[in-house]
Symmetry: C2
């Protein structure tokens, strides 16, 4: 049941390294939308704070004081946004954070002078290639 | 007219370094909400791509193909979220990115093992103090 960490976790087009296309902007905006909710941020925070780094719906309802359907909805949004991966064990599904996805989102917000030199060069090439399409 | 870079740009409580309070979650969610829109991401991208690092509404309408009221609305959202600062010069208001705010948002998404050691220690102290409240 584990979700393969493919395109979603290895996104995101850089926002501030050249002009963003509409398609790229939509992709990144979708990920930030998943983070734009206090309950979802608290769920991520709770999961990250577990010694095992994971939690199931059964762990999340009481400390956050939200109902099981609401927890499940938010977990699905975070999962669909690639921010959580999940694994079924018996009756319960366990969720853990996808660090690569968070890292990609952080990197999408770097300004050109904050990029490591080699990435900056690679991105300039990508941006130029993109502009010829 | 320049906005002072106070609390807004020096936020944000870390999401993944301990359990987040509701108030902290609401603050950070508000900032991500400002980023959760393709047109606003493209505005940021366009402003960052200017050689001068700034742009006014007059520069932004045509390349992004959105109307002046829509551009103004999005710029206001980004300004209110602390992501842009602005300055009036004659008829026009010029906007530029607030790098400290972006940097704070990126940092809010760091996992504990990704934090620089000194920050990690400081945050553990803060988190403990918070949990006694």
């Amino acid at each position: 049941m584990k979700k393969p960490l493919t395109a979603l976790s290895t996104c995101c087009p850089p926002v501030l390294q050249g002009r963003l296309t509409q398609a790229a902007a939509e992709e990144i905006a979708g990920a930030f939308k998943a983070l734009a909710d206090p309950a979802r941020l608290r769920l991520l925070s709770f999961i990250a704070a577990q010694p095992s780094g994971e939690a199931c719906v059964c762990h999340l309802m009481k400390p956050l004081d939200i109902s099981q359907p609401t927890v499940s909805h938010h977990l699905k949004v975070l999962y669909d946004a690639g921010l959580l991966e999940r694994e079924r064990r018996g009756t319960w599904v366990y969720y853990r954070i996808v660090p690569q996805r968070l890292s990609a989102l952080r990197e999408a917000l770097l300004l050109p002078d904050e990029l490591p030199r080699e990435k900056s060069a690679a991105r300039m090439v990508t941006a130029r290639a993109g502009s010829r399409r």
